[in-house]
Amino acid sequence: MTIALIRPDDWNFPLLLHVGGAMLLVGSLVTVAALFLLAWRGDSPGLIRLGFRTLLIAALPSYVLMRVGAEWINSKENIPDEADWIGIGYITADGGLVFLLISTILAGVAARRAGRHPGGGGTLGRVVTVLTLVVLTAYLIAVWAMTTKPG
């Protein structure tokens, strides 16, 4: 049996912002990965364009929500930075941002090429697929670390 720990009320909104942003971010990445996987073999400029827009309109703003919420709740809880699960969170969030930005730029170029020449942007689209799947895996590890709090 585990005894419930009730957090102070003023922690609720920052935590909601952090978890909500993370959920939208992962949802956006699942969508992008699925779109680019579908576009992997065929020339599907519509799918590549939608993937790029999802990264730009959904994934990046969700990342900002998640990251701002993380700093906000961290400042309230005063968790020591040396805790393993906090370290995993920072590494995946900051490393993931680099991958996310590269994916967005490459997806934009791929969408442009695919719009101009049928079949264009295929290789870039495949790189975006791989990058997105890597980030998605890292974020799933982060979800595990945030919920189980190892170390």
């Binding site: 049996m1 949802g27 599907s44 519509g46 189980t148």
Partner: protein, 140 residues
């Protein structure tokens, strides 16, 4: 990892899957809303199936592990107001939402008039999955 850790992880993971389902279905709706007849519906119907499966797994997982947590953790009860409210709000809107999305995707099948306009190069003949889906069900 304790049982509590596992339950919380699986509950949150399932909730992530449920939200991912909403994002997938929203993206399809956004893509097909104003493009009736000018996009190939096949990939979007496949995406809607992904969204549907994510909701099946995520929605059920969130519910099962959430109830398990409420029973397992001392200090929470199933009849706490916020848990009851969550259970009521969890009443599945999914079948209708998935129906809308599939209808929207199916209605975006290319039609001869719009395809011949040449406005969108990605337009192509509807996939067999699209045709069979349309023949099996009514969009609304």
């Amino acid at each position: 990892m304790s049982l509590y850790d596992w339950l919380l992880f699986l509950h949150v993971l399932a909730a992530f899957a449920a939200v991912a389902s909403v994002v997938v279905l929203s993206a399809i709706l956004a893509a097909t809303w104003r493009s009736a007849g000018v996009v190939d519906a096949g990939p979007f119907l496949r995406m809607s199936r992904l969204g549907s499966r994510l909701w099946d797994v995520g929605g059920m997982g969130t519910l099962i592990f959430g109830i398990w947590l409420a029973v397992y953790v001392e200090g929470y009860e199933l009849w706490d107001g916020w848990i009851l409210a969550a259970l009521v709000l969890w009443r599945s809107p999914r079948p209708r939402a998935c129906g809308w999305v599939r209808a929207s995707a199916a209605l975006s099948e290319p039609t001869p008039g719009t395809v011949s306009s040449g406005a969108r190069s990605e337009a192509s003949a509807p996939s067999s999955s699209t045709r069979s889906w349309r023949s099996r069900s009514q969009p609304f």
